[in-house]
Amino acid sequence: MPQMFTPTPTLEPSGPQTMTLNMGPQHPSTHGVLRLLLEIDGETIVRVMPDIGYLHTGIEKTCEAKFYQQTVTLTDRIDYLCPLTNNLCYVLAVERLLGLEIPPRAQWMRVMLNELTRINSHLVWLGSHALDIGAMSVFLYCFREREDVLRIFEMVSGQRMMTSYFRIGGLALEPPLGMFDAVRKFVQRFPSKVDEYENLLTSNPIWMERTKKVAYISAEDAIALGATGPTQRASGVDIDLRRDMPYSSYEKFKFKVPVSRDGDVYARYLVRVQELRESNEIARQALEGMPEGPIKADAPKIVLPDREKMKTQMEALIYHFKIVTEGFPVPAGEVYQAVESPRGEMGYYVVSDGSPKPYRVHVRAPSFANLQCLQTMCDGGLIADVVAAIGSIDIVLGEVDR
């Protein structure tokens, strides 16, 4: 049984030699507003006590007051580095509640954009993680490519970060002209850019010194403490929801799931960098195999009609008015939909009571659970390793606090 993680923020030292050090919530390496109380013996960590909730905005409560479609915009704000993954997870949950069938083109688009989102999120992680540890130039390289991804998001949705591009029943709009060309250019160029990052870091002796055998966590501990995603796979647990419990047509794509057994910061770095390449490969397959056809399900009472139809058809106008003003009722029931977000298992538990507003939306946030590993990772390490450990589990505080 791993050491129970009991974060009782207290200034009382547990031994005669220890002292308490406050880190955050404004510390640059805590990636937002994470506050840690460290109990230290000299430079050695005795206890790590996270104090979270600084960014709690009550999104789950707000969802209960919105129509199902309006809730999509709230899901963006939960994990602001991978908004499209949140969108996807939520719309999949509601689509399962409704029993909707999504046309293949919409599914392929969703897969492609999700993998670009994963690249976007991992690039922010790589840049800021390297910056925390002291490799400053990687940050600039990563944000150069991230800019390209954000431009693609801007093309499809008009927004760089809070995209809200997925709709219950499909996509918001047909992707614009030139968007596929932009993606094609990006996926062709990107593998060589990953080589550039790896040239800077993978066999860099300073980088290895700072990350190898640092913040180790075993596979058993990772499972017991609820870690998912790259944090778990770097400890040797071979599970990826995209491959093992596929959703949105992921079973039709070929990709490898990188796994490492080392369980340290370096292993988590390697796993994520490999994931960058695999995501790029999935995006390329989605682009090449992109089917033609509609982008919205055939469900006039749920999916908004085309603008053109509204000008010529009475029914379309009525449906549009009804969906916008009254929403659409969703059959009573409950669904837990999980997707593989860049940080791990993201789950949406949506409960419907048959009304047009969700009765309860709960988000299983991967960062929230991953954060519990911090005590086990940092136990007996140095203060500087805490920074490496936080970076390596890739927390997003918007998601931790919701």
Binding site: M1, P2, M4, F5, T6, P7, T8, I52, G53, H56, G58, E60, K61, A65, R96, L97, L98, G99, L100, E101, I223, A224, L225, G226, V237, I239, D244, M245, P331, G333, E334, V335, Y336, A338, E345, G347, Y349, V351, Y359, R360, H362, R364, F368, A369, L371, Q372, D401, R402
Partner: protein, 165 residues
């Protein structure tokens, strides 16, 4: 893909291994079960939740070794008021199951499962913070999202969203 009606008859659901395992352990511990939208829900008696989790985790044929999530739903003003919902995942078998405990509004407390999965720590604290459901045996049951001196539990349906008057 039209919706199939939910199956709630225990006899028909006996083929599902997690339910069969729990029934063979203690048929009285299972209140009801439901199979809806490809998801199995087992409603467990309050006193049995910790042992039910341990059994599902330790059975090698089921191997529900991962606790994905704990949350709650408030059905105010109906009774039993709270559903505490556990989502378990079997990493080797790629299966999920949902356990549920129904709690009355005047005595919302149940046993903590932190001794089965340490990861329940944060999840139970969150449910306690936002719903006011108490978990006995939890090592550190304090608020996690809201400030320590906050009044009330925000995700309850009778929580005044516009403030107390």
């Amino acid at each position: 893909m039209p919706l199939a009606p939910a199956i709630t008859d225990l006899e028909q659901l006996k083929d599902h291994p997690p339910l069969a395992r729990l029934l063979s352990w203690n048929a009285n511990a299972v209140e009801s079960a439901k199979f809806d939208r490809d998801e199995l829900t087992i409603v467990v008696k309050r006193a049995a939740i910790r042992e039910a989790c341990a059994i599902l985790r330790d059975d090698p044929a089921l191997a529900f070794n991962f606790l994905a999530d704990i949350t709650a739903v408030d059905w105010y003003p109906n009774e039993p008021r709270f559903d505490v919902v556990y989502h378990l995942l079997s990493i080797p078998r790629h299966k999920r199951v949902r356990l549920k405990v129904r709690l009355s509004g005047d005595d919302p407390n149940l046993e903590s499962i932190t001794s089965v999965w340490p990861s329940a720590n944060f999840f139970e604290r969150e449910v306690y913070d936002l719903f006011g459901v108490r978990f006995s045996g939890h090592p550190n049951l304090r608020r996690i999202m809201m400030p320590e001196d906050w009044e009330g539990h925000p995700l309850r349906k009778d929580y005044p969203v516009e403030g107390y008057r």
